[in-house]
């Protein structure tokens, strides 16, 4: 069985749906849920900020730290000499779960990657080749790779998509979000056939209102069903697990170096609300691990060991223990 890591790309064509927040925090939940590998090695996840706006990076690094990461950010992965070194040479480690040993490494984003949009075709081809080499090394070194992207078909977004084999699309439940995703599936599916397989796509409803009254839940359910009815081919991709609206998730972008949402220190009166957010991320994270295991279960040669063992690990612990750091 190969050790090649699967790569998830967080991508939609609509901004403000929560790509970056989910890419960071659901990945953290996945790290907490990851099984220990049979060979005793720790599970490693690589988080790559493939958005030139660097929002994901700003969650973890202060402006000073970002400045200091100039020689180790994503731009270097497109450099023919630096790419050979692979990700182990230029990452930071924003998180390690002390219980299961799972580690999240970050490749910081780079404003300079914007220059590839206007580069000559020759320069773009050269950069693509370097990035492919870099990703081959990353797949061998890590168990899972996660890209955060920009909501438009930039050079960087297309490179992230080309390097991935699974798509996660956060949506706020409206027709535009699903239409944007349908567009990706239809148009980019011509280039990357895996995008036409509903098992390789997970749509995560985000910013869902917590309806406490029956009537509100009924209205919410009716609205969702009406939207889904227009996209029947996406039904098998839409997760039942969801992220609810929460003050903890608002306006985090722009506040630099805040880290993961669940690590915030809160007053005792807000603890239950934060636990609700934690529970949502865990539910989506667990569901994503299962979806990955299902998506690749018939492709034993490409199956990654961590993904293959996830079902065994979840037997008996679902709803129970998550490896707390």
């Amino acid at each position: 069985m190969s050790q090649q890591a699967h790569a998830i790309v967080y991508l939609t064509m609509k901004g403000g749906v929560g790509k970056t927040t989910l890419a960071a925090n659901v990945t953290r939940a996945m790290a907490d849920l990851a099984p220990r590998k049979a060979n005793g090695q720790d599970t490693k996840i690589l988080l790559i900020d493939a958005d030139a706006q660097c929002n994901l990076t700003q969650i973890f690094l202060t402006p000073e730290e970002m400045e200091a990461s100039q020689n180790s950010n994503l731009y270097n992965a497109f450099d023919s000499f630096r790419a050979i070194e692979g990700p182990s040479q230029f990452h930071s480690t924003p998180y390690t779960n002390r219980t299961n040993g799972c580690r999240i490494d970050l490749i910081a984003g780079s404003f300079e990657t914007f220059s590839f949009v206007l580069a000559t075709p020759t320069r773009q081809k050269q950069a693509e080749g370097s990035f492919r080499h870099f990703m081959n090394k990353a797949r061998a070194e890590y168990d899972l790779i996660v890209f955060d992207t920009n909501p438009s078909a930039t050079f960087l977004t297309l490179q992230a998509l080309a390097a991935s084999d699974f798509l996660v699309a956060p949506i706020t439940f409206d027709s535009f979000s699903l239409r944007g995703l349908d567009l990706i599936r239809r148009e980019l599916g011509k280039r990357h056939e895996w995008l036409t397989n509903p098992r390789r796509i997970r749509i995560v409803p985000n910013k869902i209102k917590r309806a406490s009254r029956d009537a509100d839940r009924a209205r919410q359910e009716d609205e969702e069903q009406a939207i889904v009815a227009n996209f029947p081919h996406l039904e098998e991709s839409i997760m039942l697990s969801r992220i609810h609206e929460s003050g903890f998730l608002d306006n985090r972008l722009g506040k630099r170096g805040l880290g993961f949402v669940v690590d915030q220190n809160v007053l005792p009166m807000h603890k239950d609300s934060l636990d609700g957010v934690r529970s949502d991320f865990e539910s989506v994270g667990r569901s994503l691990w299962i979806a990955l295991a299902e998506a690749f279960e018939h492709e034993d040669e490409n199956q990654n060991v961590v993904v293959a063992s996830i079902r065994r690990a979840f037997q008996g612990i679902f709803g129970g223990a998550v490896a707390r750091p």
Binding site: R202, I208, A211, D214, A215, R217, A218, Q220, E221, E235, E236, S237, I238, M239, L240, S241, R242, S283, R286, S287, I290, A291, E294, R311, F314, Q315, I317, F318, G319
Partner: protein, 115 residues
């Protein structure tokens, strides 16, 4: 005339009982048709799938487990990933199930089950 004949044969007590019964019944089928189906008590995946099976497909728990098992196998899910339904509540069984089979796949299969 027919109605008068029927009514005139009734005793006063029987007539009052009939009136009471008429008052209690919904006045039209329209109101029944507009009644909202019950909603799951929260939006967690297990609650929503259980609600789909119990309320929308009107299945008893043991039948729901058996039919969902059949439906999942028909959709290509390997038997080894479906937990044994022995004496568990539907919710407990579904909790174990979605730790092995993706919740979306389970819901799509549940929606296709007819009582």
């Amino acid at each position: 005339v027919g109605l008068w004949r029927d009514l005139s044969e009734l005793q006063r007590v029987e007539f009052d009982a009939l009136l009471d019964e008429l008052y209690r019944k919904p006045t039209s089928t329209k109101r029944a048709a507009h009644a909202k189906p019950s909603q799951p008590k929260d939006d967690r995946p297990v609650t929503r799938i259980a609600h789909q099976l119990r309320e929308r497909s009107s299945l008893a728990d043991d039948i729901a487990m058996a039919k969902l098992t059949e439906a999942l196998i028909a959709r290509g899910v390997r038997r080894e990933f479906i937990p044994n339904p022995t004496s568990k509540t539907l919710e407990a069984w579904l909790t174990s199930l979605i730790a092995q089979v993706s919740e979306t796949r389970v819901m799509v299969a549940a929606k296709q089950i007819k009582n």
